[in-house]
């Protein structure tokens, strides 16, 4: 039993790292632009399908690099054409817009690639467990965690030590002051949105290695990401990371004790956080440090 719980905590951290990747992209966009991006799961699906299409030409590794960039480009176009018009309005507007977008992307994917799921393999070198005992730690999952760590690390460095990063953080706190200081807020928001969508695209490629590729694959990953943000605290990227890891572990441990509640436990956690500490675990200053 003890070993089972230990296994599931480790496993939960792996799963949680992935939730965190999705959630941080969402969180970036939410913090700076006040847009609740319901289409985030859709962009994940776009990333995954683009990787599927590109793999025969570029191989898995090439697709892993190119697909998220292409997804970010699509995200940028969407931001320029649609989302930009709703900045400054009640977040409900952009929520409705992205909600509609999510459906459009799902059906668009079905039109282009078909309703039938598609097979997607990961490189042979990563597709097996590292040891007999810890069979759930596969090369691919370790690679995923490493990717998440690298990307999150880079993002934190970017936000902390670069001019753009400082502007994004400042904009999160008080966009009007940042704008009055002469910063091009439009460009800043576009870039920030693209980075968020890049993370969704990357998450899509990574997810495709473990999940079946089909137009609704983003649905199951979107809710945990929202919950990670709420548990961690809106406005705090560290909080989002922590929230992702926490719900991953909670779902894993619950699966040992009460399997059919492993999905519901995330919502229970969210409810408790909202009751006891409504701003989330680390959502104090709205700053990421």
């Amino acid at each position: 039993m003890l070993q089972l719980i230990f296994f599931n905590i480790t496993n939960g951290l792996i799963v949680g790292a992935f939730y965190a990747l999705m959630a941080i992209g969402l969180s970036l966009i939410l913090n700076l632009s006040n847009v609740i991006n319901f289409a985030h799961g859709g962009f994940l699906v776009i990333g995954a399908y683009l990787a599927y299409t590109l793999t025969p030409y570029l191989g898995f590794w090439g697709a892993l690099i190119v697909a998220p960039f292409l997804t970010a480009m699509i995200g940028l176009i969407v931001e320029r054409l649609l989302i930009r018009r709703l900045y400054g309005r009640d977040p409900l507007y952009s929520l409705l817009l992205t909600f509609g977008l999510a459906f459009i992307i799902e059906d668009g994917t079905r039109q282009i690639w078909g309703a039938q799921g598609l097979p997607f393999s990961v490189p042979q070198a990563l597709a097996s467990p590292l040891s007999y005992e810890f069979f759930f730690i596969t090369g691919y999952r370790m690679f995923m965690v490493a990717m998440v760590a690298i990307v999150v690390g880079l993002l934190f460095v970017l936000l902390r030590y670069t001019r753009i990063g400082v502007r994004i953080r400042a904009g999160t706190l008080d966009l009007e002051t940042v704008a009055s200081l002469g910063v091009n807020v439009h460009a800043l928001r576009s870039l920030n949105f693209a980075v968020g969508i890049f993370l969704a695209g990357l998450g899509g490629v990574l997810a495709a290695g473990q999940l079946g590729l089909e137009p609704t694959m983003g649905d199951g990953l979107l809710m945990p990401s929202f919950i990670a943000i709420i548990v961690g605290g809106v406005g705090s990227l560290t909080g989002t990371l922590l929230g992702g890891l926490l719900i991953g572990v909670a779902a894993g441990v619950t699966a040992v004790i009460f399997p059919s509640a492993s999905d519901a436990v995330m919502y229970v956690m969210m409810a408790i956080v909202l009751l006891v500490r409504p701003r989330g675990l680390l959502g104090e200053e709205g700053m990421m440090t």
Partner: protein
Amino acid sequence: MIRRLASGALDRRTLIKAGAAVGLVPFAAPYILSARGETPVKIGLDNPLTGTYAAVGQNELIGCQLAVDQLNAKGGILGRQIELLSEDSTSGDAGTAVQKARKMIDRDNVDLLVGNVNSALALAMAQVTNEKGVLHIVPGGHTDGITGTDCKWNVFRVCNTTRMEANSICPLLFKTYGKKWHFITPDYAFGHTLYDGCEANLKKLGGTVTGNELTPLGITDFSAYLIKARAANPDVLIVLVQGNDMVNCLKQISQFGIDKQIHVAGTQQELESVLAMPSEARVGVWMFEWYWKQAAATPGLDQFVADIRKRSGGKVPTARTWFGYVTIHAYALACAQAKSIDAKAVAKTLGDMELPPEVKLQPNKVYFRGGDHQLMLSDFIGELRQQGDGDPENLFKVNDIVSGDSTAPAVSETGCKMNMPT
């Protein structure tokens, strides 16, 4: 903020109106698939075209379309052309499915309603068709109740009950793999009845259940359950989840190398799922409800496969395509035999009607059972192939074709009390 709202290009009222308009689109005119003749016989298909079951719903639609076109080319039903109407029921929203069913019955005046892939939606639709006295065929919803405790005079089912599925394969799994079984079961009506069927079989054979992992529908990560399953050290891991859950589960099983330590098998498997898996995940012994490649020559099979390939971009028919095809042909045959399209007359004829070779497309006798309106169809038992044999879509090796008569429990055991109207 207020000023911006007032001067903006899009105000709230416009948005809400637009939203309402978008919401109404699905209820507007249905997509008419084929319409000829003066007073056509109308068939309404209320099945998923979006969501999780979009792929299987699409295949059932293709099967229906082929049958309608074949029949219309030969003069339709009783000299009247057939008009097939199709509505998207969604994959899981019973409210929408029921609304569409009512619309097709009340406004479009369909003579036959067909659907649904989702068992829960099929049951909800059956309430409506029964209340309205409209004939209803369920092509692909498996939960026992439809032709069991909830059976109705106007409702017929083409696909297996979950009990039939369990009965068809459990004895073989027991003999081949051993007596300690661990289950991964989807946590809803279909999964529960399928598990019950397997457990009953296993008890009878003298085996034990080491655990049953009830997984929420649509879950993406199975690792926590797989860790538990392996720790329980069973002889065989039985995977009962379906659709994309099946793809995710088997993909993760193969990445964890579990299939190399424990036998992996299950009951119902579908070509749609197998095609979506990478080759290394295609492992184990399963049952298909129909398969496009059969060892012995089957009359009409090659033609059926060729006709479907023409309509689906070269893809072969799956069990789902066959369900749709059988549904329409069985109805047309019953109408012709009853010389009427009156629901009661057709229902009486359909009960105990045997399907001809060019419709059943398989060796054993296939017929609707009068007592519970369940089709006695064969189950195809065999192993998954990692690579297609002769054809990229030939991913299943059929070892045995078990007749419906031998897998279905007697009518008296199904809980069905059929009340035919006089």
